[in-house]
Symmetry: C2
Subunit: 242 residues, 2 copies
Amino acid sequence: MTTSPGYDKYAFEPFAVTADLAVLTIRAGALHVLLVERGQEPYAGHWALPGGFVAPDESAETAARRELAEETGLSDVSGLHLEQLRTYSEPDRDPRMRVVTVAFAALLPDPPEPHAGSDAAQARWLPYDSLGPLAFDHDRILADAHERVGAKLEYSCLATAFCPPEFTLGELQQVYETVWGTELDRPNFRRKVLATPGFVEPVPGGAKLTGGRGKPAALYRTGDATALYPPLLRPTREGRSA
Amino acid sequence: MTTSPGYDKYAFEPFAVTADLAVLTIRAGALHVLLVERGQEPYAGHWALPGGFVAPDESAETAARRELAEETGLSDVSGLHLEQLRTYSEPDRDPRMRVVTVAFAALLPDPPEPHAGSDAAQARWLPYDSLGPLAFDHDRILADAHERVGAKLEYSCLATAFCPPEFTLGELQQVYETVWGTELDRPNFRRKVLATPGFVEPVPGGAKLTGGRGKPAALYRTGDATALYPPLLRPTREGRSA
DNA sequence: CCAAAAGTGTTGACTTTACACCCATGC
DNA sequence: GCATGGGTGTAAAGTCAACACTTTTGG
C-alpha cells in the first residue's frame, strides 16, 4: 500500500460500491435471466440487472445474497451458488456518480416464479437470447456471466446448481446443452458424468420419475466433488486438434 | 439497481477503493513476488502487496497499471499482462477503515531488478515459497493469484507473459514447471506447444541461443492465439481418470 | 570423448466419438 | 403398436505418456 505524492490516505474520494447479480436459470430449455425494469433516469424503462449498494457492515457477497433474496422472494438463499465474476470500475459507468460494481452470477434451479420485489420496480425472468440493450454496462456484465458459467461447466460440478435437489441425467444434460448452445451425445454424456467420482450420486430409494412419456429415469443428487477431472470439454469450437 | 427501504441512493456510506497487485516473475527457476515493507501500523514491518487508492478519474485497472509502473520502475508497463483476480470486501479487512480492494495479478519476464519505489517503503522480490505471513489478507490474495495463474496456464497462452520477447521452448517449459511445481516431459511439452496454432511462432532469423552449454535452442515469439485448445493439463493431481 | 541441453521418433495404453441397439412407459 | 426418452454396448479413430535415440554445443 503506497500513496502517490499529494495523496492522503484519509482524504480519499468517496466511492459508492454496489453488488449486481446475473441471476440465471433454465426454463423450458432456454437460459433465462432475472431483470428489473428501471423506473427512473438514467435508462428509465430499460431492463437492468438486480443489485444494490453494499451496506457499511456487509461484504459484497453478503450484499449480493441479500439482494438475491429480496429480488427472488426465496426464503432459503443460503445454499445457492454465488460466483464472483469481476469488478467494473470505469469512472463513467454511471452518469450520476462514481460507482464501483462487484458483479456476481447466481444459478437457480427451475423458475421460482418471479419474485416478490421489495420495491415498486417490476422484476421478470426474460430469455437470454432476444434481450434488448440493458441499462449501464449490464450487457457486458451479463455476457461475462454467461461466458464464465459456460467455462466453469467444463471443469467444475457447477451444472447441478441449475437442477432441483433430485434430478435425472437428462435434465443435467439439458443444462449443458442450454448453456453451451450445442447438442451432446447422450450415452457419452452419461458415461462421463458417472465416471467422475463425486459429481452425482444415485438416490438410493430406487426412485424414478417420468418426464412425460418414455422410460422413467433414475434420480441423482449432487455429490461431494467440486472439480471435474477429466474436464467435460465443449465440443470443438473451430478445429480442436492440430 | 434497487434500494432498500430507508436507503437513499445519494446518502451511501463512503468506501475507499484500492487496487492491489500480485506481481509475479520467475527468477532462477523459482516463483518470486514483488512485496513492499510496511513502515507504519497496522502491520508495520510486515511485507505487503503493492497497491494504492483508485483515483477519482481512474478505473481499478488503470490504477493498478499506474502502481505497477511506480513500484517496478519500468517505463513500458502498457504491454504487460494484468489479470483481474477478484475483489475483497469483508468489512474488517483493514482495521482503520472500510476498504474494498480489487486485486490483480501481473506477470513479468525475468527480474527487472527491483524497482525505484516512489516512496520510502522498500520493495523487494521475494521467493514465493518461504514467505512469512503478509499484512492484511494479502496471504489469501497471493494464494488466489498463484492458483489463478496456475489454472490459466492450462487453457490459455498466458505463460509467455513470463518470458522475454524472444525465448526458447526450454524457458517456456520452465515457466510451467515453476508455477505448477511439477516436471514435464520435454518431447511431449514441445509437441503440444507447437501443435497449438498461434501459441508461439519461430523467430525467422534462424536465431539461436545458448543457455550455457548444450545444443543451441531455436527462438520463438508469442503468437496471436490467446486460448489453448486442447488444454495443457497439469499432470494428475490425485487420480485423473475414473 | 564426455556431459548437457535441444530436438525427433515410436509404441502401447488409454480416451473419445459415433453409432447401433434394447428397455420401459404413455397414448 | 409406436413414439419417446432412458440406458447399454462396441469398435474405429484419436490422443497421450513414456522412453529410446540423434544432434550440437562447451570443456
